[in-house]
């Protein structure tokens, strides 16, 4: 089966174009967008880890190593599309337009972190594994019913493919031919469980066969490969071709979360041969003469400033309101809840 799903690549580990025919697909604008966003979310991720270590935010699941997959997929989307991410996809969310301050707030235990910018269809990160696949199917089904050409993308990990909702999501999408992209980041591990013990198939892509959903396997650390395969799937979805499954093979460089210790379960040295996707892009930029020191410097300065500002805004954010515990459960507070709120606020007030 694995032969039916070769790993699609555009650039190799050294940053060389594998097939020179693809040269024309790539231009400066795209390369700079890729670099800017990958560098930006890498910086965010590093900052988040360091904030966690200092106790300034809660447990945090780093996405280091998955930047090409997250940026490559998010940049291929259009304005009116929908994204349904997991807890590890804040890189994709930020790229698609999520607010960075709010993203920090999310990891600081604030529900403000789930509220997307007005007009952006960014669903809050799904914590219960694989549940969001069905939401993406429903939201894109709604677009199809409305007759727009907007689509939805569901992000999920290799571990998520073991849950029933993965299966039910792909089956619904296929039966109703919804414009949904199932974007899998196979980062080799679900916490401590390696992909080989999660399932017995050699690829995730082949799972699309069960639903007759077109599927590909792509090098998830190759920004261009991800981006171009995404474009094909996006086009298929927009033009009535139904759902697609993309397996982006990548690697979780760090721990599952800041509370996890991968030395407990990951053989030493494993993954050391994986070339960091940002390094790979940099190599390509240098090889293909896209390297522009001025752009790089500006990017670094700009991103550093943005991240610092977001951290400051997060820390200066007004304290959570106790009222928020009650006010959003229903559109209107039921009588009982009103009483619970009033009596608790009174107790707090009296202290």
């Amino acid at each position: 089966m694995i032969e039916s799903y070769p790993l699609r690549q555009i650039i190799d580990d050294e940053g060389n174009l594998i097939d020179s025919n693809n040269r024309d697909l790539i231009n400066r604008e795209l390369v700079q967008k890729a670099y800017f966003n990958m560098y930006r979310i890498r910086t965010f991720d590093k900052k988040a880890k360091s904030l966690q270590r200092q106790g300034r935010i809660g447990t945090y699941p780093p996405f280091e190593g998955q930047e090409a997959a997250q940026v490559g997929s998010a940049l291929a989307l259009g304005e009116n599309d929908w994204i349904f991410p997991t807890y590890r996809d804040h890189g994709a969310m930020l790229t698609y337009g999520a607010d960075m301050t709010r993203t920090f707030l999310y990891w600081n235990g604030r529900m403000e972190g789930c509220v997307p910018p007005e007009g952006k269809h960014i669903f809050p990160a799904a914590v219960p594994i694989a549940t969001q696949l069905l939401h993406a199917v429903g939201a894109s089904w709604a677009e199809k019913r409305k007759g727009t050409n907007a689509i939805a993308i569901a992000y999920f990990g290799d571990g998520a493919t073991s849950e029933g909702d993965f299966h039910e999501g792909l089956n619904f999408a296929s039966v109703f031919q919804t414009p949904t992209i199932f974007f899998n980041q196979n980062n080799g591990y679900a916490i401590s469980v390696p992909f080989e013990r999660q399932t017995n198939s050699k690829t995730i892509a082949q799972k699309g066969v069960a639903y007759d959903i077109p599927s590909v396997r792509v090098d998830g650390n190759d920004f261009f490969a991800v981006y171009f395969e995404m474009q094909k799937a996006v086009k298929r979805a927009r033009t009535g071709g139904g759902p697609s499954l993309i397996e982006a093979v990548t690697w979780r460089t760090g721990a599952h979360t800041t509370a996890d210790d991968p030395t407990k379960y990951r053989p030493e040295g494993l993954g050391e041969d994986v070339v960091d996707p940002l390094v790979r892009l940099e190599r390509f930029m240098k090889n293909a003469e896209y390297w522009d020191e001025a752009f790089i410097t500006t990017t670094h300065v700009e991103v550093e400033e943005e991240v610092e500002a977001a951290v400051k805004a997060m820390e200066d954010y007004p304290a959570p309101r106790v009222e928020d515990l009650f006010d959003y459960v229903f559109a209107e507070l039921p009588e009982q809840l009103k009483k619970q709120k009033a009596s608790y606020l009174q107790l707090l007030g009296g202290q």
Partner: protein
């Protein structure tokens, strides 16, 4: 504004409970183009109980949708449809088959409004026939309301009569929040009532006094309502005047109707089908404890399903609260 149907002066039709549900759905499908029905066998077949009979014919395959056999799929895609402008009415074929969708309901349907501080919401209705007494196979007869009244973020309604069935269905669809709409299977075709032809709503969160009385308050809902009414009349004949409350909404519960009645009678018996332990009856005991302690002339009684799985149908009549058990409890609170 919600109009209690009793205030309507309008043409009526004699309908069974399931016909009233069907009419309610027809009404909302007509009124609101964003509504749609989805579930197993709801389309061509018109539902295994015929609740959606004729609706696909009238509104098309695009509005009344046969889905794959997949409850988590039905609810999970409904979440996506609801956040993106549609109002799904999802049918779960029997309440005992809602469990595969429990995760989606618990972690998403009920929480999306809160976690997004109102940016997203999922106005949807989940319909589910429930209850024992119709000689159905295993798992077809569960009463699972407690699993949802304990779940913050979803409302739970349960009509006992055709008039309430139509009005609560329309209210549930119009509600900005998710509503679980429980249908007492046993009452589907048990009796008829004159139901207004036009659209109306029954307010969610309000119980109804089905019969006034002075000595004991009987609190119940769903298929137990007609049984309790009958026992109440028998008790009356024996000189114990019973008031019967049909809760109609199980969350948020109408605390006032309970406390007012119990403060008048000083005695209460709660009757429901689900097992007593963990059953909603305990919540009602708490409400009485909290609001009416000093009025109580006897400890509140609960007559419920026993703490056993709903049995195979040859034993179900022993599982369900019987008139004898109800009457015994009425006597007990009266003679305390």
């Amino acid at each position: 504004m919600t109009t209690e149907y009793t205030k309507l002066d309008t043409a009526t039709k004699s309908l069974t409970l399931i016909q009233a549900i069907n009419e309610g759905m027809e009404t909302v499908l007509e009124q609101d183009p964003s509504t749609l029905i989805l579930g197993e066998d709801v389309g061509k077949n018109g539902g295994v109980f015929r609740a959606t009979d004729g609706l696909q014919e009238k509104f098309g395959e695009d509005r009344v949708i046969d889905t794959p056999l997949s409850e988590s799929g039905i609810i999970g895609t409904s979440v996506g449809l609801a956040v993106n402008g549609f109002k799904p009415i999802a049918e779960i074929q029997f309440m005992g088959f809602i469990y595969p969708a429990y995760d989606q309901i618990m972690t998403h349907v009920s929480r999306i409004r809160m976690r997004t501080m109102g940016r997203y919401s999922v106005p949807m209705v989940i319909r589910a026939p429930f209850g024992a007494g119709v000689r159905a196979p295993e798992i077809h007869s569960d009463s699972a309301e407690s699993l949802f009244t304990h779940m913050p973020g979803i409302k739970v309604v349960c009509p006992a009569t055709p008039v309430d069935a139509k009005g609560l269905l329309i209210a549930a669809v119009n509600d900005p929040d998710p509503v679980l709409y429980m249908e007492p299977m046993h009452s589907y075709r048990a009796f008829r009532e004159e139901v207004p032809v036009e659209s109306y709503t029954v307010e969610i969160g309000k119980g109804k006094i089905r019969k006034e009385g002075e000595d004991v308050t009987l609190i119940t809902w769903g298929a137990m309502v007609p049984i309790v009414e009958k026992v109440a009349r028998q008790a009356d004949a024996k000189g114990i005047s019973c008031e019967v409350i049909d809760l109609r909404t199980l969350y948020p519960i109408d605390q006032e109707i309970i406390s007012e009645s119990v403060q008048k009678t000083g005695r209460a018996v709660i009757i429901h089908e689900a097992p007593g332990t963990g059953g909603l009856g305990n919540d009602v005991v708490s409400i009485i404890n909290d609001t009416s302690f000093l009025y109580l002339k006897a400890p509140t009684e609960r007559v419920t399903g026993f703490d056993v799985p709903v049995p195979f149908f040859s034993l179900e009549k022993h599982y369900l609260p019987t008139p004898e058990r109800i009457f015994k409890s009425i006597e007990k609170v009266t003679n305390f």
